[in-house]
Symmetry: C2
Subunit: 301 residues, 2 copies
C-alpha cells in the first residue's frame, strides 16, 4: 500500500514562542503564509517480513535516525508495535531543509497523516503526534497548526492541534516570492538572547495586526519585527531594500532562515525576477496554498 500526503511549505512572518512543559500546550503566536509548494510524503507499507522495519529517505536518499529524528519518532509512535513488515517513508522537499520553510513540520505532519491513514487514527491525533515531536525535538513551535490552517494565517492562541487557535486573513491575487539564501538554526535562535526581543516585538506585531487584519499590514509588521529584533540586518536587509523598490508591499525575512519573502501582485513579478536575476540570487514563486493538507492512497498519476 502506498499513501501520499502533501503539506504546504510554511513561512513565518513574525512570532512569539510559547514554551510549555506539555508539548501540546507549547506553540507560538504569530502570522505567516502557506505555499503551494512544500513537502510530499509517500509512505509505503508492506507486510510479510519477519521484523518491523522503518526507513526514511529525504529527496530519494536514505537518512539515519540522527538526521531525521522527528520523522522517525512520529513513525515509531504510529506504526503499531506488533506490525511485521516494511514501512518506507519517502519525503520530497520543494525547498531546502533548514531554510525556514517548515520542512521539518511538513515531514512530521505528512508522515503522521500517511501512517494514520494506513494504520488507523484521525486527523487530530495524527496532527497532535506531529506537533508533539516537533516541539520535543525543537523543530518548530507553530508550523504544524499553521500548515493545517492553510492560507495566510494568524496564530491567535498558542498550542498544538486542538488547543491552539489559528485565524486566517482574506487576501486577493497575491503570489509569494521567496529568496532562499541559507540556513538558520531555529534551535539556536530560540536558545539565544534574542528571544526576549522576539517576544516583545512579536506581541506588538500581533496586537497591531489584529486591529487591522490585512496581508499588507502583516508584511509591514513582519518587516518591523525582523529589523527591530536585529534578525534582519547587513546584506540581507540591503537586499530587502532593493526588493522593496520594485514591490508595492515590503518584503521581509523568512523566520527562521537566511532568506526573504514577499507578497507580490502578478504585474510586479517580472520586475522582481529581473532584479533578482541581475543580482544573481536564487528565487522561486509560489501560490498561496489555501486548502487543508492532502492525504490519500496513491495509485500513480
Amino acid at each position: 500500500m502506498l499513501i501520499r500526503s502533501f503539506v504546504p511549505a510554511h513561512i513565518t512572518a513574525f512570532f512569539v514562542p510559547r514554551f510549555n512543559d506539555d508539548p501540546l500546550r507549547a506553540g507560538s503566536l504569530g502570522a505567516g503564509v502557506n505555499l503551494s509548494k512544500g513537502t510530499t510524503v509517500f509512505a509505503s507499507v508492506e507486510t510479510g517480513t519477519l521484523e518491523r522495519h522503518i526507513h526514511v529517505a529525504f529527496n530519494g536518499e536514505p537518512v539515519k535516525k540522527g538526521e531525521a529524528l522527528i520523522t522517525y519518532s512520529v513513525a515509531e509512535e504510529l506504526v503499531p508495535g506488533g506490525f511485521l513488515g516494511e514501512v518506507e517513508i519517502w519525503q520530497y522537499f520543494d525547498f531546502p531543509n533548514g531554510y525556514g520553510f517548515g520542512n521539518s513540520a511538513g515531514g512530521a505532519l505528512g508522515t503522521a497523516l500517511s501512517l494514520s491513514y494506513a494504520f488507523g487514527g484521525t486527523w487530530l491525533k495524527a496532527a497532535q503526534t506531529a506537533h508533539r515531536h516537533e516541539v520535543l525535538n525543537k523543530g518548530g513551535l507553530g508550523d504544524v497548526v499553521a500548515q493545517l490552517a492553510g492560507g495566510i494565517e494568524v496564530r491567535v492562541k498558542a498550542g498544538g492541534p486542538g488547543i491552539g487557535v489559528v485565524d486566517n486573513l482574506f487576501f486577493e491575487d497575491y503570489r509569494v516570492l521567496v529568496v532562499p539564501l541559507g540556513r538558520l538554526s531555529t534551535r539556536e535562535v530560540l536558545d539565544g538572547d534574542v528571544v526576549k526581543a522576539i517576544e516583545r516585538e512579536g506581541k506588538l506585531a500581533l496586537e497591531s495586526l489584529l486591529r487591522d487584519p490585512r496581508p499588507e499590514r502583516m508584511m509591514a509588521l513582519a518587516r518591523g519585527f525582523a529589523e527591530n529584533t536585529g534578525l534582519l540586518s547587513g546584506e540581507l536587509l540591503e537586499l530587502a531594500r532593493q526588493l522593496d523598490r520594485v514591490l508595492s508591499n515590503p518584503s521581509s525575512m523568512i523566520m527562521l532562515g537566511k532568506g526573504l519573502f514577499a507578497l507580490v501582485r502578478e504585474k510586479e513579478i517580472d520586475n522582481a525576477k529581473n532584479l533578482l536575476a541581475d543580482l544573481d540570487v536564487p528565487y522561486d514563486v509560489a501560490e498561496v496554498y489555501d486548502e487543508k493538507p492532502k492525504v490519500g492512497r496513491w495509485i500513480g498519476q
Copy 2:
C-alpha cells in the same frame, strides 16, 4: 463589488447538543459529512446611495427579515453602521431549506465570509458571527464548525469557532447518496422530550466512534442513534432497510430532516439509483467536500 462564497452542505450523522448562555460556548458533539454541493452566496456591495440598505434573496427570490432572520442578523452586524450603499445577498441552495443540509449555517457563514471579505475582518471573526446568530436563532448548533472543517468530521469538543474542536476521519472513495424527503424543525426537536434520548445515545455513539474512528463505524453508529432515539421509524426506517440491501454500509437518517443518507462506493451507485427510481423517491449524489469553504471576488466565469 461582487464577492462569492461557497459553503458545503453538512449532514449530521449523530449529535449531542450542548446548550450554553454564551452562544460561542454553545455547540454540539457528534459526527457528520460535508458535501460538494451546498450553499453559494453572492454579496453585491455598491456605494453611492443615500441610505444603508441590506437585501437578501433565496434562490433568486427576495425574502423579508422574518424569513431570513439569521442572514439579516449577520449582515446587520458586519455591514458598518455608517456605510451608505446597497448590500444584496443572493443565496443559492443546492438542497431545499429545512431538510437537514445545514443551509441555514451555510447561508450565515457564506454571508459572513463574503461581507468580511468586502468590509474587513478575518475568517475566525466571520465564522464566530455566523455561529453566534445560528445559535441565538436556533438554526443549529454544530453546522458552522463542521462546515469549516470539511470532510467527514467529528466534533470532539463542543463550541463555536475558536472554542469547539473538530476532528476528521480518513476516508477513501466514498460518495454521499442523499434521499431528501421533507422538513423537520431543528427547533422543535431540540425543544422536545426526545432531547434526553439524543444526549444519551449521542454520547455513547461518539465514545464508540472515537475508539474505532472509521467512516463505516460512523454510519453503523448513526443508524443505531437514529433508531434508538426513535427519530428514525415507520416508513423512513422501512426505506432505510430497503437501501441497506443494495449497500455495504448502513444508511441512516439526516439529522435533522425527513431524509436518509449513505456513504456509497462507486460500484454500488447504480443499484441504489435503480432501487430509488423504482420506489419513485427523490435522490441526489455528491462527493465528500474535503476542503475549506471558499470566498473570493467574483469576476464571472
